[in-house]
Amino acid sequence: MMMRDKPVLTGAPGTKFQLAAPVMTESAPADATAMPKLRISHMNFYYGNFRALADINLDFPENQITAIIGPSGCGKSTLLRTLDRMNDLVPKTRLEGQVLLDGEDIYAPNVDVVNIRRRVGMVFQRPNPFPKSIYDNIAYGPRLLGIRSKKILDEVVESSLRRAALWEEVRGKLHQSALALSGGQQQRLCIARTIAVEPEVVLMDEPCSALDPVATLKIEDLMRDLRNNYTIIIVTHNMQQAARVSDFTAMMMMRPDGAGEMVEFDRTRVIFTNPKDKRTEDYVTGRFG
């Protein structure tokens, strides 16, 4: 069972908003027959003439954490960036196939890309807070979406920081520079900034690789909490992190022609105890390479 805060970004008068953190209960196990939140269907992705991803088919279950693992250069981050059309910003890229968000292709003509990137948020490897105050970092997105009411912005800032497990550490210094926070705090700020615009999916590209072990574990705890309200997809080099934190794992590998392909997808407990494909077995046991 999950509970979401009521949406607050319409700016409509009288919108009710709960300041208390939502009750986090365990999501029900993913139903294999349920429509996935995101579906990649027969995707090929090209940088110019170079095919970087080959015939990818992958479902991301709703309100679950899916980790994408695989050796360096196999296309994990490229794949992640197809999910919010960040690769559109790279010249001469081309995608074949479909990426379906709630059944609708995000690459269809006339799709509002800005709205896609609101619904599918991204947290990057290195924390990248804006050179602004903590408050303004969080309020930036809602303001862009047209929220002007200070009361609503205050509520959104507090709610987002609470959900990112950062509120208690920064509540007395919201107008201090975000750059003064520690690395782990900055990354949680970036997560808060992402969820302030009420996404449905949160993409994370090696979110902890620049953080110390304590900060890493705090982010992992946070991911488990956020799972109840968001679909989370994480790319990670850290296999133990994938094992600790994710519900599902997708294993990718580079083919001889340099294209990344999907090798195996299953529940994390299966990938790490009894994978079907020998390449997965070799990779998770550290015998690859």
């Binding site: 296999m239 998770v284 046991t285």
Partner: protein, 223 residues
């Protein structure tokens, strides 16, 4: 190839488990010999020696925990280490049952046997052979062979049922035989439990090789 250290460590654990298994196999035979020949000194030595077997189990167990904590094994490595861990515990249980047999020998003292020992030594011999084959299947990582070994437990169970019926009829005919009958029944029960422990080891072999968790040789309840 990477993970050389882990591979060597698992290899060492496998060897240690096989050595432990061979010692336990020997103790089963010794405890039945002590019973057959009414050798009190041998029985006492078996009881004393059990502490060393416990120590071996704890050493093996500890090494498994260390590997789990420090090497983050996954997939086949994880299954292998866990199987070694659980098999070591089963071997120590088998040794405890052999020790119980030795205690029965001492408890019986010089009292005459109720009947010649035929089926009991046969049970013990079967258990030794079964354990030897289980260890062999473990060494070769042979899940099929392990499943075949598990089926041998039926023979041990059938012998136990036979002994049970026979001893019950002694008691019914002459209630004064109850103490002597119960001693032999407890002895048979301990060997029957050894068969069950060996079956558990074969289940571990299957798990290590295939990832399949299942009860092998699910038969009728014996006791």
């Amino acid at each position: 190839m990477p993970r050389t250290m882990l591979e060597h460590s698992i290899g060492r654990l496998q060897t240690q488990l096989l050595e432990f298994g061979a010692r336990v196999q020997h103790v089963i035979g010794q405890s039945m010999d002590a019973l057959k020949t009414r050798d009190r000194a041998l029985a006492e030595a078996i009881i004393q020696n059990d502490a060393q077997l416990n120590e071996t189990r704890f050493r093996l167990e500890d090494e498994c925990y260390i590997l789990l904590a420090t090497q983050q094994p996954a997939a086949g490595d994880l299954r292998e280490i866990v199987s070694i861990l659980l098999s070591a515990i089963e071997l120590e249980r088998i040794a405890d049952h052999a020790k119980n047999l030795a205690e029965i020998t001492i408890h019986m003292g010089a009292e005459p046997l109720l009947k010649p020992l035929i089926d009991l030594p046969r049970m013990a011999e079967l258990a030794q052979v079964m354990l030897g084959r289980a260890l062999d299947a473990f060494a070769r990582g042979d899940a099929q062979a392990a499943e075949a070994v598990a089926a041998m437990d039926d023979d041990i169970d059938n012998l136990y049922k036979q002994i049970f019926r026979e001893l019950m009829s002694f008691i019914v005919e002459d209630p004064r035989t109850v103490t002597r009958a119960m001693n032999l029944l407890f002895a048979a029960h301990n060997i029957e439990r050894i068969g069950d422990c060996i079956t558990n080891i074969t289940e571990r072999v299957v798990y290590a090789k295939t990832g399949r968790l299942q009860e092998l040789n699910v038969g009728t309840e014996v006791s």
